[in-house]
Symmetry: C2
Subunit: 384 residues, 2 copies
């Protein structure tokens, strides 16, 4: 049931230890749940309570520190030896007096890790200022090094098996989008379409099922000016635009996909924006080859859409993999990250204006010839 061979997890841990050495830390406290998934396979959904992974440079495996109740979630999903899964007592949940981060501090002392150089993810992870205060006060002699982004950066380039899951995720995304296109019509409730779309995301294909999905953004009408609104229980009406951004999910990997749909004949400005964005996507993908910089991809898109009289004022893509956003490189001005083969990006071309908008997006990998998209759906403005 492991998503990857044990050897792949051990390779990731070895790479992390190299990064730790460069960062000058002997112990890494990893709090971002995607990083915990990456290093161990952990498949519980439990990061609404404190949890972390502690990796010591001289230990063969990390320790996974979870709420006691979630220890079996790890037993059934991680590659670790069972004694490397450690629970903190249940009376630390919902308590004013006992704090899980103080328990973590006592574990680090027990393991004699508190005298070593400790790195911790102080950003991009579900640790609050209060939790960090509790940890620091319980370990007053420790000077923590921030390692935010260290592991996420190493996740950028995907392995062959990771690419298998991302392509599977993308084919699920294609199916889910086709379901939306097929079921949207005037008079149909938005929530009834959403129900079919999310069912398609989870059902997957006869060969493989989908993982837990994030709900699609699918604003309709004037709400297409906004990126992150979803369905209502109102019916669609004639002459209505709909923007859909959804993911395919497979073994914790995601592939994002966006299309716009119009009920009835689309207005000329929407057709023009679609043509501009589609042409811009082709240029961006052509520029997305190894050796180029992230900002080159954005520049290629900008040049083409500007020629069509349109301009996008936000980044046009970001690294994607486990969960939606890795928060490392972005396609935007000033991002000098050098593109490497098998980095994966969500090229997200949302064009939002005051009371209308349009979306087109695909997930792809970098090759030496340009971006290799995982999507197979036509780049159309779908008309119903």
């Amino acid at each position: 049931m492991l998503a990857f061979e044990r050897a792949e997890y051990l390779g990731r841990i070895a790479k992390t230890k190299e990064s730790m050495e460069r960062a000058g830390v002997d112990v890494a406290l990893v709090i971002n749940q995607s990083n915990m998934v990456y290093l161990t396979g952990y498949d519980g959904r439990s990061d609404y309570v404190p949890q972390m992974l502690a990796l010591a440079s001289d230990a063969p495996e990390p320790k996974l520190i979870l709420r006691q109740q979630d220890v079996p979630c790890a037993v059934h999903s991680v590659f670790l030896q069972t004694d490397n899964i450690v629970g903190y007592p249940e009376d630390h949940i919902g308590s004013e007096r006992k704090h899980p981060y103080e328990y973590v501090a006592s574990l680090l002392k027990d393991w004699h890790l508190d005298t070593r150089r400790i790195g911790i993810e102080r950003g991009g992870a579900p640790i609050t200022p209060i939790s960090f205060d509790r940890l620091s006060r319980a370990l007053p002699d420790v000077k923590f090094t921030d390692i935010t982004g260290m592991i996420a950066r190493q996740r950028s380039v995907k392995s062959p098996q990771e690419l298998v899951y991302m392509r599977q995720a993308a084919s699920i995304a294609d199916l889910a989008m086709q379901t939306a296109i097929d079921s949207i019509d005037a008079g149909v409730r938005q929530c009834d379409v959403a129900a079919k779309v999310m069912a398609a995301q989870i059902r997957g294909t006869p060969e493989f099922g989908g993982d837990r999905p994030v709900s699609p953004a699918m604003p309709a009408g004037v709400r297409t000016s906004s990126p992150h609104l979803s369905w209502t229980d109102e019916p669609y009406t004639d002459a209505m635009p709909i923007n859909i951004e959804l993911g395919g999910f497979r073994r914790r990997y995601v592939a994002g996909l966006s299309r716009s749909i119009h009920i009835g004949r689309p207005p000329p400005r929407l057709v023009a924006l679609h043509e501009a964005t589609k042409a811009g996507m082709a240029q961006a993908l052509a520029a997305a080859k190894s050796g180029n910089l992230c900002q080159d991809v954005e520049a290629a898109f900008r040049a083409m859409t500007r020629r069509h009289g349109f301009e996008k004022n936000s980044r046009i893509g970001y690294t994607i993999g486990i969960d939606w956003a890795e928060n490392t490189a972005s396609f935007q001005r000033g991002d000098m990250t050098v593109l490497e083969p098998d980095m994966t990006f969500h090229l997200m071309l949302g064009m939002w204006y005051d009371d209308w908008g349009y979306t087109l997006s695909e997930t792809f990998r970098i090759t030496d010839k340009g971006g290799d998209s995982f999507a197979t759906l036509p780049r159309e403005l779908f008309v119903k």
Copy 2:
């Protein structure tokens, strides 16, 4: 399209200002997204980037501070005047140099709020230690007061319209659970059942649709020892136990519901655990009347299950409303919170052992006669 009348939002804001006065703060920086929803109706899903609400004690409305791109999400969902919705520039996203919390600091200065007593949610909200450092360094003269939990506590007692949404959510949860019971069978893939369950959660009823759902936990087989694992794409088999914990979602309110299902004749120990837990639930609900303490509910449950030879070692419930857990009162030893009418709780009786488990849960409100459950599904161990 507002979920509540303007007067209800204004009432919530007035209550918050009273709490602020008691806490000795003139300005509240509210970062927990559920609190932002509660005070304004905000319906975007965007708290993966920094965002907050700033409420000054002498201003009629709060300011909502979002990423520029998400301003239209607010325009289409909040009760505020448009000039109280403020965006920070897109070049603060995915940037190493520009930090949204520094922009927030400049806004607070522009609004002359930086010279007043500022409270901020430093826990229970998606603010990292790094973000708080950036804010503090940009406002070196401000001494922040922590207001974690202040607004969540005021959300505990629900208004009549909130109770309408929670009952609607609970009826959706009933439908979704019935869908699971109907579709589970040996040979059926777990993901195919999950697809039907989530479709039922979103479709809702002919009168009202469901909101964006959280994926159900639905471990099967030995994985029933764990609370927070979900489906796989393997088929169910004969003689297999399944635990399902799911929510009904309606206008951002949730009602949790759990049942256990067994394919084939259940083993005697599972039947015994079901009977014990069911009897314990009746005792807990009887004890859940206004005037009693939270710990009394747990004690009533413990006494009954112990009589049956079982013991649960984690809390047996918590406040629920907007999103799943309000992180205020819990049914556990030592929680002296006094129960008040129309507080709502998820009574979550997950009984987990080394390689098996059982779940029974319902969402209910406190009355002077005991807990009034919103669930209508029989409290059975369902056998397929």
